[in-house]
């Protein structure tokens, strides 16, 4: 990362869309703003246009399917055997098994090797596949090459590789997913720092408000960032603090990864309407028509915000052949039907203690993305506030009194109002209104905020105090006597406390840890988003089932030649050091307590 670069860049590597923004430091500090970079990309075969968003879709054609020349780009004129962006997105649904989408969500699927070629995920054999990490790398490479082509000219110091780049990740990403994301960026030649998306949305708000932001909040406010995009839902709580008479901000809680978003809503509408067409007209839609219907449903969903009165909308799918009128299929949907399906289906009124339903455990569950099984976003929100938020002295959860919306779904006025209503109902105390912070651009806010965050890092300004969004633990075999037939019980040693600051390190007080010379030593590894009070070195003998989440194991290999003659198989006592890098990734080191050696613990990622 270059701290003197001309441009300070923000990249939103989104589940459904990517965006790139920048601050030009050639502009005097007081006058700086964030600019949107328009990304040249294929919009059809052989057609290149610059658009503000790069859809996160990858098209992997077979050899004779398409002429590589028409997939070429101004900076790759020799032809290409893949395409990313708008053209790839438009092909989704039309060429099954050839389009990779939602690659980012696959970076945090349990038990999958994220470096193995598994996408597009399909039960049937698929001709070409890439790994989730490679897909992310290809999107970043496209952004890099597009930038270099449009912005760098012949000046190597203006290339994206030389700029100061902030890259956003879901707040719910754990250390492994963050490491993989930073790794994909490194493979694309980019040194980046990571920033949580809801925080980036909040920085966009700070950018819009300027110094006046303090007029909109007061000490003790708890602000909910409610970020619902095409594929994911991400919640964060930020509190307003005061020190020396100045207001500050602190991110106090992040939620779990919830795979639920606008695409689910469009599909729900589409399936509902397809069933109605079959019932009323006796016509069955094919996949192509269903995709068209989902498209029409999205448009209808967006119109719902503008027309709140009761009415009927006609959804039409044009004929697939040249007979557009003759082959057209129409179905009517009333405003109340849409409200029932969308508002009450995805945002039902519910009590604060109503928790989202856990996934049903099915004996033979096909492996794949862990979609949320409960579509009730409001219940996920209730679970988040109860599990992750603070509690009053009487044990009742602390409720937010302000909200910042972000993400495509929250463009809808109707849905924003429902979230506000639900929060208000939970508060009971109706004397204070929920305040809604004017949201930044729903599609570009995260990217805008991330460039602004980079600018704040460089020249100063209000920052959100955050640090590690989880606490981390390694498993240590307990000293309990072994019981035949039972696995030895495990205690969890906290190695990273919640909120540990980026760019800091901590020595973990622990006795009796050792690595075996000449062999691989493996440690079980856990994280928690709810145990926010554990200090480094504390040992948990037991915990509630949902408090700690097991992660891929950590391993270290001690080459015999590095251990000053200790015989193979002997135990080297080690001390632990945890480092949260400036980038925002986690490193764990073992130090030889009797000598000089130190070894890094690596994530075992082979699934």
């Amino acid at each position: 990362m270059n701290h003197d670069s001309r441009f300070i860049v923000g990249i939103d590597l989104g589940t459904t869309n990517c965006a790139l923004t920048y601050v030009d430091t050639a502009v005097p500090e007081g006058e700086r703003g964030v600019s949107i970079f328009h990304i040249p990309q294929l919009v059809a075969r052989g057609e290149v246009k610059a658009l503000p968003l790069l859809p996160s879709f990858l098209y992997l054609p077979e050899q004779h399917e398409i002429d590589p020349a028409v997939l070429s780009l101004p900076w790759a004129e020799g032809g290409r055997d893949y395409a990313v962006g708008a053209y790839a997105r438009d092909l989704a649904g039309k060429v099954p098994g050839k389009i990779v989408s939602s690659a980012k969500s696959w970076l945090c699927v349990d038990g999958l090797d994220k470096r193995a070629a598994t996408l597009p995920w399909d039960r049937r054999p698929v001709p070409r596949q890439v790994s989730p990490v490679d897909a992310s790398r290809l999107f970043l490479e496209h952004l890099r090459d597009a930038w270099n082509y449009s912005m760098a000219g012949d000046d190597p110091s203006l290339r994206l590789e030389q700029q100061d780049v902030s890259l956003t990740v879901p707040a719910s990403f754990d250390a492994v997913a963050r490491e993989l994301t930073a790794g994909a960026a490194a493979q694309a030649g980019l040194g980046v720092r990571l920033l949580e998306e809801p925080q980036a949305a909040f920085y966009a708000w700070l950018h819009d408000r300027g110094d006046a932001w303090r007029d909109y909040v007061s000490e003790g406010d708890v602000i909910l960032v409610c970020d619902i995009g095409g594929g994911t839902t991400d919640f964060t709580l930020i509190t307003v603090t005061a020190a020396d008479g100045r207001l500050g901000l602190e991110r106090v809680a992040v939620g779990d990864h919830i795979l639920l978003g606008g695409d689910n809503m469009d599909l729900t509408l589409a399936y509902g309407m397809a069933a109605k067409i079959e019932r009323e007209q006796g016509k069955q839609l094919d996949g192509y028509q269903l995709a068209g219907l989902a498209h029409a449903c999205r448009a209808a969903k967006e119109r719902l915000e503008r027309r709140s009165e009761e009415g009927v909308q006609k959804l039409t799918v044009l004929g697939r052949g040249t007979g557009v009128v003759g082959g057209a299929i129409s179905v009517e949907i009333s405003t109340s039907e849409m409200r029932e399906l969308l508002v009450d289906g995805f945002f039902p009124l519910c009590a604060i203690d109503e928790q989202a339903e856990e996934r049903r455990k099915v004996g033979l569950r096909s492996f794949g993305l862990d979609y949320a099984s409960d579509p009730a976003t409001t219940k996920h929100l209730a679970s988040f506030i109860v599990r992750h938020g603070g509690h009053n002295a009487d044990g009742r959860p602390v409720l937010p009194n302000a909200v910042l919306f972000n993400g495509g779904v929250m463009k809808s006025e109707v849905l924003r109002q429902r979230v506000v209503d639900v929060l208000g109902q939970w508060r009971e105390d109706t004397s204070v209104d929920m305040s809604v912070l004017t949201e930044p651009d729903a599609d570009l806010g995260v990217a805008v905020g991330s460039a602004w965050y980079g600018n704040v890092q460089r020249i100063g300004g209000v920052r959100i105090k955050s640090g590690s969004s989880r606490s981390y633990y390694i498993g240590v075999e307990s000293s309990m006597p072994a019981v035949p037939g039972f696995a030895p019980s495990v205690e969890a040693l906290c190695v990273v406390p919640f909120g540990m600051e980026e760019g800091s390190s901590v020595d973990v007080p622990a006795e009796g840890l050792g690595l075996v010379v000449g062999e691989q030593t493996e440690f079980r590894f856990f994280s928690s988003t709810v145990r926010t009070d554990d200090a480094a070195g504390s040992v948990l003998e037991s915990w509630r089932g949902d408090e700690l989440e097991e992660m891929p194991p950590l391993m270290a290999e001690l080459p015999a030649e590095e251990c000053g003659g200790s015989p193979i198989g002997s135990l080297v006592p080690v001390a632990l050091e945890a480092v949260l890098t400036e980038v925002g990734t986690l490193q764990l080191w073992c130090h030889d307590v009797r000598g000089e050696g130190r070894w890094k613990l690596e994530f075992e990622l082979r699934g």
Binding site: S72, P74, K314, T316
Partner: protein
């Protein structure tokens, strides 16, 4: 009126300069010649790549060629109306994404307007009882439309400019 003249000038400047410079004798950009597989036909037909490309866009987003080529007399207004809403949405997207289109005269239709001496007869058409020399007083019947920018994608030389949309075969 001054604002109007400036707008007119900007319009011609865009049409006749820079990237979009189109001369009378050569209405299409020379570099977009192609090794069309069907060269025999396209050459004779005098394909103007940018003109045909406008059809490409209207067909791709709005299915306009399908619509105009279809015999709609056999369908009722309800069926036609439903399809037209979709076609309208798509074609409008083409205009919004690829062209800047704005009224020549922004004043409301039906309002009285003054036409000064030296007015641009290309941008304003006088109808009705036209006699003598300007200034004239009249009523704006139609605000006119003008293109303020054209923002087409860059297109690869290998594309056949005669293809509005390829035939589609599902396997």
């Amino acid at each position: 009126m001054r604002r109007f003249m400036t707008a007119c000038k900007a319009f011609w400047k865009i049409l006749f300069s820079g990237d979009l410079a189109l001369a009378w004798e050569k209405p299409s950009r020379g570099e977009v010649t192609q090794a069309a597989p069907d060269a025999e036909h396209t050459e004779d037909a005098g394909i103007l790549p940018d003109a045909v490309y406008t059809l490409v866009l209207l067909q791709r987003e709005g299915r306009l060629i399908d619509f105009l080529k279809e015999d709609i007399d056999v369908y009722g207004d309800e069926q036609v109306g439903a399809a037209v809403r979709q076609i309208h949405t798509g074609c409008r997207k083409v205009l919004d994404d690829n062209f800047g289109v704005s009224p020549v005269d922004e004043r409301g239709e039906g309002e009285p307007v003054d036409i000064p001496p030296g007015f641009d007869s290309g941008a304003i058409r006088l109808t009705g009882n036209v006699r003598g020399d300007p200034p004239f007083k009249g009523t704006l019947q139609h605000g006119g439309w003008k293109v303020t920018k054209v923002d087409f994608p860059e297109r690869h030389a290998k594309l056949d400019p005669a293809i509005i949309c390829p035939a589609e075969v599902e396997l």
